[in-house]
Amino acid sequence: MNSSKVASYGLFIALAFVFSYVEFLIPIPFTMPGMKLGLANLVIIIAMYGMGIKEALVLSIMRILLVGFTFKDPSSLLFSFAGGLLSWLLMAICKKTKLFSMLGVSIVGGIAHNIGQIIVAIIYVNNTSLLYYLPFLMISGVVSGTLIGILGALTIKRLNKYFDKWNK
């Protein structure tokens, strides 16, 4: 791994970390636990398209660990990992199969986040009735996924030069 790659990893982890923090600061009235803007997912999806699928996984795991120990109760790590990893997995599959453009991949990622977290919640409290809250969470998943997808596509267009260097 050359030094420019190391620097890029550092930059992207820092960005994802800052975005997670910004999310804590923006007071948007969400009506259910687990509803989020998912700003950090913007960094992950840009990394996935610009750097590669594996790199995005590394970033995602690092971000979850950092944010989990800094701002949240470490017990919430389980929820974050379930959401983050399922989201990464489904986005990677959708990107590999070229089924959707970046917008579709981002929406799949947003909803996968909700599904992952709700699965853990169901196992955690041992109560399947939590599944009924999925439609509410999916609304936020679609809306934030769409926003992140549009923003991501715009950003990637402008960062193409930088990523061309990365992939050399």
Partner: protein, 121 residues
């Protein structure tokens, strides 16, 4: 942007609509309110007893819940925007009130369904 993206969005919106209609049609009157703080269940209160219950958080914040005539509402809270206080009263199963700053989540459950769960365990 691909055609598939629009099919995806359309499909999800249809799924959400159908799910909401289903939830509305099959909703039942709740029997208990489950109070959870920070994703951990704190207490369950029966809806048929009028009462108020105050949660004091570790950081000095608080939420007061009121149960009256089978309806649950957030009577008052220390959060700045008071969105949870303005939320309409909840009564039917799967209705919920969430106080985001204090991470208090109130959800109505139907006890009969919990019994089914208990049998399944």
């Amino acid at each position: 942007m691909k055609k598939n993206d629009f099919y995806l969005i359309g499909g999800i919106i249809v799924f959400i609509l159908v799910a909401f209609i289903g939830l509305y049609i099959f909703r039942t009157e709740g029997t208990m309110v489950v109070v959870s703080v920070n994703e951990k269940e704190l207490i369950s209160l029966p809806l048929d007893e009028d009462t108020t219950y105050t949660i004091h958080h570790d950081d000095g914040q608080w939420n007061t819940i009121e149960i009256k005539d089978g309806y649950v509402s957030m009577l008052d809270a220390s959060c700045p925007q008071k969105i949870c206080v303005k939320h309409h009263k909840i009564h039917y199963s799967f209705e919920s009130i969430y106080c985001n700053p204090n991470e208090v989540f109130l959800r109505i459950v139907d006890d009969t369904e919990n019994e089914l769960d208990a049998i399944a365990k």
